[in-house]
């Protein structure tokens, strides 16, 4: 006897929860009704992200690395579902391996990107990388899963919180990914994923005064306008690419802090 399957409702991922859009709107993508986030959802996401920064950036690097590794573990358990929603198994495996790769960077990038500075006076002087804060990410339209991971992982491994605009045409893998993230001990609010119409959301993300950096590598013709909006609070604007993977991708979303102290008795 055949059984009618229970379908999933695809919702947003904000502050660790899965709300519908406050606007009550949806749009159809990949054969599903998907939440169509509003400006209000975007602002709520930024607030959730800001609230998550102290806890996430305050965790030890070792701990953050383990949480990222756990995202890979949670995805491994969902390979079949993720493969259905993306280009297939190869993409999923690449995305999982990417999390593992960045997980290992959590307690290493500070040594590669920081420095101890030999100033010409009796001072101890060192430079450490720190998270810039809240980062807005326009995920590449394709690949719909690995593109999100390639841009999200370097943001959060550095201790930032992210507000991600999912690929508009193929958003389902992003929400499946959110479900893996939600069960991976990532503190609520560190990753927020909004589905919806990018043209409705991106300008508000770019102009938001409590967003510190913006990855608009996936923006098309509207990139100049987004960059103009980003200038209002001197956002760090990054043009990320889905095929880039290096500690310099992490560095894009880090600030450098230099501390001086006299040496004496």
């Amino acid at each position: 006897m055949s059984r009618l399957p229970v379908r999933k409702t695809y919702k947003l991922f904000v502050g660790g929860a899965f709300p519908r859009s406050e606007s009550g709107r949806t749009y159809e993508a990949q054969g599903q009704n998907v939440a169509r986030a509003s400006r209000k959802d975007l602002r709520d996401s930024v607030r959730a992200a800001r609230g998550a920064v102290p806890k996430w950036s305050g965790m030890t690097a070792y701990n953050r690395g383990q949480v990222l590794y756990r995202i890979a573990e949670m995805m491994e358990a969902r390979v079949a579902e993720l493969a259905d929603l993306s280009s297939g198994r190869a993409e999923v495996e690449q995305a999982i391996d990417r999390w593992v790769w960045y997980a290992g960077w959590a307690d290493k990038y500070a040594q590669v990107l920081g420095s101890s500075n030999p100033v010409a006076a009796p001072y101890f002087n060192f430079t450490v990388p720190e998270p810039t804060g809240v980062v807005g990410v326009l995920a590449p339209e394709s690949p719909s899963l690995d593109g999100v991971v390639a841009r999200l992982a370097p943001v959060i491994v550095g201790g930032n919180a992210a507000v991600v605009l999912a690929p508009e045409a193929e958003p389902l893998a992003s929400i499946e990914l959110a479900e893996a993230i939600a069960t991976a001990d990532v503190p609520g609010g560190v990753v927020n994923i909004l589905t919806g119409h990018r043209s409705e959301l991106a300008p508000w993300l770019a102009g938001h005064m409590d967003v510190n950096a913006l990855d608009i590598g996936a923006a098309d013709g509207d990139a100049p306008e987004l960059e103009r909006l980003a200038a209002e609070n001197v956002k760090r604007v990054v043009h990320g690419r889905a095929d880039r993977q290096s500690p310099y991708e992490i560095a894009n979303f880090l600030e450098l802090k230099t501390v001086w102290h006299p040496i004496g008795v």
Partner: protein, 498 residues
């Protein structure tokens, strides 16, 4: 009050001391009546045909006429820079590039007295600062980056660094030659060529620097220098053949530049304003802290983007700190920038003086209590008495806006958390100071402050090897150190199979 403080309270105030004048001789500087623009290795008449007078802000006397470079001049300078980049400089062996920079460093050391005097003449800063800070640091900056020129491949693991091309650089008037060094040295070390615009009010040391380049035999066009006001800067920013813009100045102009460059793909670094907190805990060494407060805000007349302009004092030591600070202010000597005993020189320009006056008036109007030590101001020139505001609320303009003058706003706090919250309560994030004898507290506070440079038990220290730059609306990118190279390089990925 402790016994010690009571004794100090009764101590005679040395404000009546008279110092004999000790002016530095200014005849070491020879000025031309009129300067052109420095393009392709030569000072030439500007195509704009326009000049304006540059003055000594301590006397308002004109020193020389300098060019107001126009669009044609900008275009010629960019062409000269492009030509030098394509036909020589970028192809030169890095070791040879390094040697040019070493030469420049040496010549600056050799001519440091001349530069120091001119810096004080044109900018109004005390000679002891231009002599002991601006000049040694400028030379050191070239010396430091000279050494990087042929070692770039060691700086960025797994990347092949390559120069960007033509860098447009726009610098402020508070440290004219030092800001030139901060911009030009890393740009050249990385293999770029430069179009530099010194500030409208302080063009003369940049023009004298052109003579250093002549002596160093730097190939023509590698560095081009255009004087002028903001219009010249805007032309450089807009020019299509400039690959990178580096700007130091106000947050307002920085935002306008970021907007202007939107969609162009040009690289940008911004070093903008600040409203730094200088936090004094009750266990700090108070006398040292008071020296740090004074150095933090009155150094260079407070014309310092990283100035410690908001003093955060723990409530329990508020009175002794303020008393000591007021006593110390009475001993500051304000006057002739060329006098070797001068602590506080002239305000850089009339425009800046008016801005300071306007903000100070707003502080009094909003309800802050003003303190200024007895001080006679010279009759001519632009001057402002070192000022302290107490009873300041966080919302007051003097606690929020960058004054860029010798004006300190004092706030208090009870707990470390409150200190951090108040310190971070600003759109800026350039620098901060922390004073406490407790090491673990220094590290904890330093970690929580959103600022690019933290001075613990010291303030306003600079070094070529030490990265400098801001968080938030204080800008992005770093100057100084290994990190200061990155804004002037493309970091190519290693080739496949390598």
């Amino acid at each position: 009050m402790t016994d010690l403080e009571r004794r100090q309270d009764r101590a005679p105030v040395p404000s009546g001391w008279d110092y004999a004048p000790a002016p530095e001789a200014r005849d070491i500087v020879t000025l031309q009546e009129r300067y052109g623009v420095f393009i392709g290795g030569e000072l030439v008449d500007p195509k704009s045909g326009e000049h304006f007078a540059t003055i000594d802000p301590s006397t308002e006397e004109p020193l020389a006429e300098v060019a107001q470079a126009g669009p044609k001049d900008v275009d010629l300078a960019v062409k000269a820079a492009r030509d030098a980049y394509e036909n020589g400089w970028s192809g030169l062996s890095p070791a040879e590039r390094a040697k040019y920079l070493f030469r420049i460093a040496r010549i600056l050391q050799e001519r440091s007295r001349e530069f120091a005097v001119l810096e004080s003449l044109n900018g109004g800063k005390p000679i002891k600062e231009s002599r002991d800070v601006d000049l040694p640091l400028s030379a050191a900056h070239f010396f430091y980056y000279a050494g990087w020129a042929d070692k770039l491949e060691y700086a960025f693991p797994n990347r092949t660094p390559r120069p960007i091309g033509v860098a447009g650089q726009i610098i402020p008037w508070n440290f004219p030659l030092l800001m030139l060094a901060w911009k030009v040295a890393p740009a050249l070390a990385a293999g770029n060529t430069v179009v530099l615009k010194p500030a409208e009010t302080t063009p003369l040391t940049a023009l004298l620097f052109a003579d250093v380049l002549r002596q160093a035999e730097l190939p023509p066009g590698v560095v081009n220098i255009l004087t002028g006001d903001g219009r010249t800067g805007a032309e450089i920013v807009k020019h299509e053949d400039v690959d990178k813009i580096a700007f130091t100045g106000s947050t307002e102009v920085g935002k306008a530049i970021q907007r202007e460059l939107a969609g162009t793909g040009k690289k940008l670094t911004l070093e903008l304003g600040g409203k730094a907190a200088n936090i004094i805990f009750d266990d700090a060494a108070l006398d040292q802290a008071v020296e740090g407060i004074v150095n933090g805000i009155y150094f260079n007349q407070g014309h310092v983007c990283c100035a410690g302009s908001r003093l955060l004092v723990q409530e329990s030591i508020y009175e002794p700190v303020i008393d000591k600070l007021k006593e110390r202010l009475k001993t500051l000597r304000l006057g002739d920038p060329l006098d070797k005993n001068t602590d506080v020189g002239a305000i850089n320009s009339k425009q800046q003086l008016e801005k300071i006056q306007e903000l100070v008036a707003s502080g009094e109007e909003e309800g802050a209590e003003i303190y200024q030590p007895p001080c006679r101001l010279p009759e001519r020139g632009y001057w402002f008495v070192p000022t302290v505001f107490t009873n300041v609320a966080q919302s007051y303009r003097v606690a929020q806006e960058e004054i860029f003058g010798p004006v300190l706003s004092v706030l208090t706090f009870r707990t470390p958390d409150e200190a951090v919250e108040k310190a971070n309560n600003t759109p800026y994030g350039l620098s901060a100071g922390v004073w406490t004898e407790k090491g673990s507290r220094i590290l904890s506070i330093a970690q929580q402050l959103k600022a690019g440079v933290i001075w613990a038990n010291t303030y306003n220290r600079f070094d070529p090897s030490s990265p400098f730059g801001g968080y938030k609306e204080s800008g992005f990118g770093r100057e100084g150190g290994l990190h200061g190279l990155e804004p002037y390089l493309e970091l190519d990925e290693p080739r496949a199979g390598k």
